[in-house]
């Protein structure tokens, strides 16, 4: 059930700029590099979630350390795989648990 406020794409780019301190140019560029995935309204304006905002802040600090967008993307993929692996392991444990009762 991933329908929390944190994931809802409702924030305009102007507010994201205020929240993160990043220029709109940068925000759009990180999307182009596929580091974030805003939604679009019917007429094409971008909408971000609080999750996206947090990701942007992480991107910002990595960029400050000189990390390139490509590397950031690789890190994201690793983190994602770790998450899936953990998720599956938990599923297995639950399966075992259910077998026993």
């Amino acid at each position: 059930m991933t329908s929390s406020y944190k994931e809802k794409k409702v924030i305009g780019i102007g507010i994201v700029h205020e929240l993160t301190g990043l220029s709109e140019r940068k925000i759009r560029y990180y999307e182009e590099r596929e580091l974030i995935f805003p939604a679009r309204t019917a007429k094409g304006t971008r909408k971000y979630s609080f999750s996206d905002v947090e990701m942007l802040m992480e991107i910002a600090s990595m960029r400050e350390e000189g990390v390139q967008t490509t590397e950031i993307k690789q890190d994201m993929n690793k983190a994602q795989k770790r998450k899936i692996r953990d998720h599956m392991r938990r599923g297995q444990l639950n399966a075992q648990f259910n077998m026993r009762k």
Copy 2:
């Protein structure tokens, strides 16, 4: 600590319209009647929180039942007082608890 995503004023009126189904006219009118209190950006555009969105949905259903905005506001005040009363009672209990240990 009321700094959760739910309270952050980051949503434009267009999205609030999509989320609630209310016309922008209605949304602005309920503000005029002091039922909701959006923030304003530096240049004057309204920003709402998820909390405001929820309140709007409650307002919407009360209006459908024919409840007038004035009455809705009174209900809000009652709910608010109840909240404060409960909050204080809890504070008292905590105080007593702390006395004993």
